[in-house]
Structure formats: C-alpha cells, structure tokens
C-alpha cells in the first residue's frame, strides 16, 4: 500500500504562537493599541499644561519622561502623540488597502487593456518618491491631520495595488480557479470564494509593514511641520522641538523617538512573523523545523 502523505498540518495560529518574537510584538502592539484608545483618559498631566518654572526637568517620579522647554510633561505628550500617530496610520492604511486592493484585484483578474492602463498609472505613482508625493499633496491642501491621512493613504495605495495584482495573477492561473471557470461559475463567486481568501496572506503581511511605514511617514511629516499641527502633540514635532535642547535635555528627544521605534519595530516583527506563517514556502520550512525539534 502506498503511504499517506503527511496529513497533519499545524494550524496557523499554533505556528504563530510558537514564535516568541511574534508573540512579543503582538503583546507590545496590544499595549500600544490600548494607549491609542485611552490616551486622553490616562494621562497624568494635560498635554499643554505649561509650567515654566519646572521646565527641562529630567525624568523623575512625578514626570516619568521629564519636562520639555515649557515645563510640559513629556510622558503625557508622548501618550497623546502616539494616539494621534496610530489614528493617522490606521485610517490612511485602511484607505490604501481598500482602494489599492480593489484596483489591484480588478486589474489582475480582468487583465487586458484595463490591467495595462491601471498599472501604468500605478507605475507613474511609483515614479514619485513617497515623501515627495506626500509633500506635494500637503502643499496643495495645506498642512494638518486630514491632509496627512490623505497624503499617506494616496502614497501607499500603489504598493497594495501591486501586491494585490501580483497575488491575483498567480492565483488566477491555479487549476482550482480555472476549474471554477470551466464550471461556468460567475466572476463574483470566483473572486469572493477563490481569489480573495487565497491572496489574503501577502496582503495581511503588507498591511502590517505599511502600518509601520505609515507611522514613520507621519512622524517625518510632523517633523517638517506639515503634519499634525501644534498645539496637538505629535512625535515628529516633539523631536523637531528637541533639536535645540538635545544636550541639555536628552529626554525630550529620546522618549518620543523611542516610542516611534518601539511601535514601528513591533509592527515590522509582527509582519515578519505573519509572513513566515502565511507564505507557503516559508511555512513548510518552519513546520519541518518544528517537527525536528
């Protein structure tokens, strides 16, 4: 009798849970998420409570991250700034995902002239460096949160369109999709039950990575004064303001920067962990290692 092929497949969740780094990042992100949602209620001080006599104080029991040049509590400002960053990142990436994936899937599925036209347009957008395009959008619409969200959303749409299109193209030629066509199945059913579930993997990975980059982009825009406007605290602006005081008050630069690094790192690590699990090639390697352990 012939051997049955290995029929045991460890579920995705179990594989994810087996990787301590991924679990760690998920926990960190959960904390960040909690902060993002509750920041305004948990801050010990007001973000704009000016207190000049207490300016430039190092971290202490009262001010965990110290105070800035106007005596404002850096910890509170960082928390609220993280909230703002996350809001911008989530909304802009959501926009990019919805628009980009729709464009990419339709282009990849229909092919033909539609595909060519759409992808040429995406190529043109790719010819624009990210920050430059964001700057251009901000230049037209004026600085501010909404503009930042729109700018980042527009700028990240092409990457989702590309990933969605590439995945759709490779899934579309799989025999099970062709089988669907030979059965006379309608396009909507094919897209919904066959294509989308099988392109979800790379898209989820890309979402995690784009969230990371969105936070960096928002910080860069705020740094340049074109993003979230004062008096709203933003991580980038806080770093900009710290420029004159770095040697006097290192905490003004370090803590906002660290907040960025920690959040971005967590998204990147989570994205990597997800990629290892969701990419079939990587996955067989990990499963093999797991079993040999």
């Amino acid at each position: 009798m012939t051997t049955q092929e290995q029929s045991s497949r460890v579920s995705s969740l179990r594989l994810l849970a087996g990787n301590p780094v991924t679990v760690g990042s998920a926990i960190v992100l959960a904390v960040v998420l909690v902060v993002a949602v509750t920041a305004q209620w948990i801050v010990p001080f007001g973000t704009n409570d000016v207190d000049v006599p207490n300016a430039l104080r190092p971290p202490s029991g009262e001010h965990w991250f110290g105070t800035d040049e106007l005596g404002r509590d850096v910890f509170s400002r960082v928390l609220v700034a993280v909230q703002a960053s996350m809001r911008v990142a989530v909304v802009s990436v959501a926009f990019a995902v919805v628009v980009g994936v729709t464009i990419g899937v339709i282009a990849g599925y229909r092919g033909g002239w539609l595909d060519t036209v759409v992808m040429r347009m995406v190529d043109v957008m790719f010819a624009f460096p990210v920050l430059l395009l964001a700057l251009a959008v901000v230049a037209i619409l004026g600085p501010g949160v909404t503009t930042t969200i729109l700018a980042i959303g527009i700028v990240y749409t092409p990457i989702f369109a590309r990933v969605a299109r590439a995945s759709t193209l490779s899934v579309r030629v799989e025999p099970f999709v062709q089988a669907s066509r030979t059965m006379g199945t309608g396009h909507l059913f094919t897209l919904g039950r066959h294509i989308l579930p099988n392109i979800a993997g790379p898209l989820i990975v890309q979402t995690s990575l784009s969230l990371a980059f969105a936070i960096l982009s928002e910080a860069a825009l705020s740094f340049l004064g074109l993003g979230i406007q004062p008096p709203q605290p933003s991580l980038g602006r806080m770093i900009f303001d710290s420029q004159g005081f770095v040697t006097l008050a290192w905490w003004m630069a370090v803590f906002p920067g660290a907040a960025i690094v920690v959040t971005v790192l967590a998204f990147n690590l989570l994205g990597d962990g997800l990629r290892d699990v969701l990419d079939p090639k990587q996955r067989t390697m990990i499963e093999a290692r797991r079993r040999s352990g």
Partner: protein
Amino acid sequence: MADPVLSVRDLRVRIGRREIVRGVSFDVERDATLGIVGESGSGKSMTVLAATGLLDAPGAVVTGTSTLAGTSDSAPTQLVGASPRTLRDVHGGRIGFVFQDPGTSLNPLLTVERQITESLEAHRNMTRRQATERALELIEAVGLPDPQTRLNSYPHQLSGGQRQRVMIAIALACDPELLIADEPTTALDVTTQAQIIELVRELQRDFGTAVVWISHDLGVIGQVADDVTVLQDGQAVEQAPILDVFDRPQQPYTRELLESRPLVGDKGPPPVESDAPVLLRVDGLDVRFAVSTPVGRSTVHAVKDLTFQIRRGSTLGLVGESGSGKSTVAGALTGLVEPDAGSASLDGSDVFGARGAAAKALRRRISLVFQDPYSSLNPRMRVGAAIEEPLRVHRLAKGKQARRKRVAELLELVGLPGAFASRYPHELSGGQRQRVSIARALAGEPDLLILDESTASLDVSVQARVLDLLADLQRELHLAYLFIAHDLAVIQRVSHDVLVMRDGAAVEYRPAAELFDSPEQDYTRELLAAVPPSRPRAAVSGD
C-alpha cells in the same frame, strides 16, 4: 568477484521523531546498475543522498554505514559521518550525480563549458586549457551535436533533454566509479527518455561506471537495472536480480507494483455499442497564442486544423508529448481558450460560438479534471463546498439539505466516505484529492468528461485504482471521455479511439486496437518504440 563499489548497511535517517529511512542495506556491484524503485514517500531519494553524504536536511540524523570501496592507492572510505573534506573529494571525484529537474539543476549564469571545467579543476588539478579539451570530449561523448557551440551556450538555450545530457557530462567529467541518477528521465518526454536511457547504458559500457538509478517507474527500471531494490515506507521490501523481481516477485507490494502498471499490449476498455450516437464533433479547430518575451512578441500555433469526434459512452485518447497542443484542445472545449477557427457541436449545440445562457449550459455538459491533485482544489475551501459549486452555479439542487445529500452521493460514487465533505484538501492524499476533483466534475451530470493528464501525477498503484474508478463510472453513467495523456500504455488501457498529436497537428487518428496493432505513421511507431516494454531488457537479450 570484486567487492562492490558501494556497500550500504542498516542505513537510517531520522528527522525529529520520524524515521524516514529505516534500516536499508544494499550493494552496488562494479560495472552494473542498481535500480532503486519506490513510490512517493518511500524515501528512495533520501536513502541514496544519505548513503553518499549529500543529504542536507536540517535536523537530519544519519546512522549506519556506507562504504565506498578502496582503490589501488587508498583504503575503503566510510561515507556516513565523514568529514566535509573527505566528502568533497568523493563528490564529483569518485561519485557523480544527475538530478531530476533539468530546468533548475544548471546554473543559468554560467556557460556549459564552465560548469564542466570547474569540476575538473577542483578534482583533477587541470589547467583551464586541459579542462576545456576534456569538456569538449565529454560533450561529444554524451551525443550533443555541434559540440563547440554547445560548450559556449547557456542552459536556457538548450532543451530539457540536452540539459540532462550536459548534467551527465558533468557527472562523468572526473571519471567517477559510481554514477547516481535520481529520477533523471522523469521530467522528459518518452522519446527523449529512451535516448537518455540508451546514452547512460552506452557510457556505462565505455567508462565502466557503476550506476544507481532511482525511479518510480518500473518500466524504466526494467530497461536499465541489473539488480533491483524495492523500497516502501523507508524499508527495503524486496531485493533481487531484475529478472527475479519481474518474473518471480516474492513480496505482495512488489506484485502490486507490477500489476498496477499499465502496459502496451494490455487489454483495452470494454467495447461500446456500434450504434452509439456521436456526442461531440470537432471540425478544423485552430488555435494561436501571442507570446511576449522580454525582446518582443511572436505567435505560437498551438492547434492546427484538428478534426475528430467522440461517441456517447466511449473514450477518445488524445496522446502527444509536451508542446503537442493537447491541453489547448481541452481549453478550447471548456471555454478557457478562444479558438481562432473551427467549429464544434455537442449533440447539435454549437460549442465555440455559444454565449450567455447557452454557454453556461455547455459548461455543465462538458467537465474537466486537471492533472495536479494539489492545486486543483481551493486550499481554503472544504471538500463538500468544492463539490457543491457546480450544484450552486447550475441550480441543480434546491436548498442546503438537498445539496448536502447530493454531495454525499457523489462522494460515495467516487469511493470516498461522506465524512470527507467537512475536510480540507490538505488532509487528503493525492489519490483522494483526484477523486474529489472527479466528484466535482460529475456534480453537473455532464455528458463529456475531459481528463487532462489526470492520473499522471499519481503513484502507479493509486493511478491503477483511479483508472478502475473511471472505467466503472463510464459504464454506470454512460459517460464519454476525452482522455489526454502522454503515457501510451495508459491510453491503450482506457481508449476506444486514439488521436496522436504532434506540434499542434493530428498525426494519426484511428480506433485504438488498430493503432496499437499496426501503427501507420512513423511518429506513432517512434512513440510506441520508446515506451519501456513490459519485460525487462535482460529477458529479451537472454542475460
């Protein structure tokens, strides 16, 4: 009697908690070929890779002994657990390797010459000039025309068969005592396969190399081996000289392997009534494809003016090598490919020109089963949902209950338990997945079932069972089949009529019995001659 070139005792390979190779022993005699035969999962590749020290699986533990015979200047070498230094001398220097996939086994950025000379430089300390001369000799020895040009070519400029010849040249470059060939002809056309088999035999005679030939195909083994080791589940089940294995198999598994083989000369399918009406008529089918390469566009004429018909309840076998256009025919009949010319009618309804509702009805009446069981089913959809799809699309069963009942019936029809409906494809074996694909194809109660190389990726014993199933279904449901394959023996087993294709055009189109008895065309004869016969070569030559 000189001692064997390679002597393997109690070889075991363990990965994690699983033992994949479980105590295998064999000898490779000088100047002889050992055939190692087994189905997928038997561990045949891993056994030989471990025995020669080339295994590179993370976490693999190899125990046992594998002794390479000594020469006049050196003592015998133990390969299991040998130092990397020792192994490097042996690999290429004393043992040469030929792998299965000619497409990826050669470095695309290096010329053929370089890939041969680097071996010579490493082991024989030759200068570049000497190595190049020797490379030229080798290219000639493996039968490649225009050797100088070939030397300066890159792999992508050669065909699959030519690349395998190059691999053989590389493997034999340093005149090794042993050649390991791991499924070297599996990815090649049957005519090319026959040529490579001849080539290796010739080279063995000329160079006196011992050969280990690994294959899942008993027919090929019959053509090349002097001794045979049959592997199942990591164990050597039977080991004997070739004639003993073929004529007097001792073990039930060996017998099963022998019996499952489709053979040219076997009986064909039960006959169809002579008054069976014509179901499908195809006239002058012509298909062209535009292809774009990095440097421009060109056209491929995939199908040229093809005409044939299929009667109800009968099977038309469509046979051809790769590139013959046979799969394109399937595509044209199922709406995947738009024909450029020609007409077809199914029971009077126009096939190629149908649009809208008429086209949808046709999709139900003509059904397709693909080759690869692993990608024919949506990995994220349960088996039941996959089989149900045609029922939903064509509104063949009203309501969830009715559909579920029908799915259970279909599963039973293909010999699978009803419980499989809630499983995912990855929980099933290859043979089981193909049965699910068949069940799905039958859900719409089609008149014509197209099977595009549907058993080619299955193990021989599994293939036999699926072919039996198809024969039963044809009888019970009065189905017509268009059976596409490259394996002539399988074609003979299932077909009433045969159409041989080459380069998109029909070469010969006749009832099966006539074609196999007395083929008219040279190409058909060539194909038939290339099929490994049922009796091993040793029997014919009276060894």
